[in-house]
């Protein structure tokens, strides 16, 4: 892996004018790493508020970012993820992508809807709000 790391370093990440502490902060706090992002939508935006009475706002959230190379306990990733990363980096098979940043845990959502026949339904749905991300 030495040669990969160094090739990473070769990229001109820092313009000359930035001071050193900024430069090192990059390594302490990796940029754009896999994490949970907030996203709120209101059903009126989708013009669904004529049949979804509650909740007024729904924040499904989503996962986005790069997966670190040595994925370990921090993401709860299985060993398979590391194997896939090695296949990707060694370019053993060009169709094998780098592991993806995906939701690992969800929480349910209660929805109050008006049915087509005018009856009203309260239902609890599983896995509607992402609460944690993982790499796999």
């Amino acid at each position: 892996g030495q040669e990969t790391v160094s090739s990473g370093l070769k990229k001109p990440l820092v313009p000359a004018s930035l001071n050193l502490s900024e430069y090192f902060k990059q390594f302490l706090f990796p940029q754009n790493e896999c994490e949970l992002h907030d996203f709120r939508l209101s059903f009126s935006q989708l013009k669904w508020d004529n049949w979804i009475v509650a909740p007024h706002r729904y924040s499904p959230r989503y996962c986005k970012g790069d997966c670190p190379r040595a994925v370990g306990h921090r993401y709860g990733s299985p060993v398979h993820t590391m194997v896939q990363n090695i296949i990707y980096e060694k370019q053993l098979d060009s169709s094998v992508p780098r592991p993806s940043c995906v939701p690992a845990k969800y929480s349910p959502l209660s929805v109050l809807t008006i049915e087509p026949d005018g009856s009203i339904a309260y239902k609890e749905y599983e896995d509607m709000i992402a609460t944690r991300c993982t790499c796999r």
Binding site: N50, P116, G118, S119, A121, K123, E124
Partner: protein, 294 residues
């Protein structure tokens, strides 16, 4: 589970016709569009519309269900974990009225109101299993009624003549319930538990319930002997069904209860407490506000 086998059945036997809409693959075999959120979501993906045109519900029913929603879910829409009930679906149906005999008022017999109701339960899917059903009466708080009254609710379940010649037509069920209502200013709703009456009907896949309801309320002599009995402004009762949806998309509360280490409670049909939602909801709201302050 039954649901997952059903889904496998759909995938295995579905014929892919050219031009068929992709979400039709998820349709249950009997072709009725039944399953909760998934099919409307698919429909949006396919033709971008926000769902089919809907009949507007009764405003009282909608108010009741909004109150139920607040009692069961947080502002963000997450089901409250302190609820110990096992049902993950509550459906409220407003009736089609066959005929409505006006309330008769008598100083001795009290207020009598009988109404013939027809409930269309088509929206209840095969994977939604009935745990409890109640008739929901709304009272107009402006009635001049004594604070307590004895009410007798008499129900006659009329089963449609069976279409098949094999099963002989049965005499209509006649089941009498007796329950006492306390009318206080803050109660707007009262639930009358009819689980025992409807359980066999819903379990046998019948989706049309025809029932005649007669409610007789007599003032409680002990409290207000001089109070005049006036006509109870009774709205027609709606039907509330508490169901457990076993499909993969539905939340299975017993799952989270089990993993929280508390034994899951098997529902016995009559054991679920029927209590006015107003009182229960108010209690829920009060305790959380208290916690906030502390």
């Amino acid at each position: 589970s039954l649901a997952s086998r059903g889904e496998a059945q759909i995938a295995a036997s579905a014929e892919w016709e050219p031009g068929a809409e992709p979400w039709s693959l998820l349709q249950p075999l009997d072709g009725r569009d039944r399953s909760g959120l998934l099919s409307p979501l698919f429909k949006v993906l396919c033709d971008g519309q926000g769902g089919v045109p809907r009949l507007q519900p009764d405003s009282r029913a909608l108010r009741y269900m909004k109150r139920l929603y607040k009692a069961y879910a947080t502002k963000e829409g997450i089901p409250k974990s302190n609820r110990s009930h096992l049902y993950n679906t509550v459906r409220l149906f407003t009736p089609h009225v066959q005929h409505d005999k006006q309330a008769s008022v008598d100083q001795v017999t009290g207020t009598v109101r009988s109404v013939d109701l027809l409930f269309n339960l088509d929206r209840v899917t095969a994977v939604e299993h009935l745990l409890k059903s109640v008739l929901l009466y709304t009272f107009n708080t402006s009635v001049s009624f004594p604070s307590a009254a004895n009410c007798v609710c008499h129900l006659v379940l009329k089963e449609p003549a069976s279409s098949s010649s094999k099963t002989p037509p049965r005499a209509p069920h006649s089941v009498t319930f007796k329950s006492q209502f306390e009318l206080k200013k803050k109660y707007k709703w009262v639930e009358v538990d009819v689980t025992a009456l409807l359980q066999p009907l819903v379990a046998s896949d019948k989706r049309s319930v025809h029932v005649s309801v007669t409610l007789t309320c007599v003032k409680d002599q002990r409290q207000h002997p001089s109070a005049q009995v006036s006509a109870l402004n009774l709205a027609r009762p709606s039907l509330l069904l508490y169901l457990n949806d076993t499909s993969a998309q539905a939340r299975h509360r017993w799952y989270s209860l089990r993993y929280k280490g508390s034994p899951s409670q098997a529902p016995d049909q009559g054991g679920l407490p029927a209590c006015p939602i107003g009182e229960e909801a108010a209690k829920g709201v009060r305790s959380s506000r208290h916690r906030h302050r502390r």
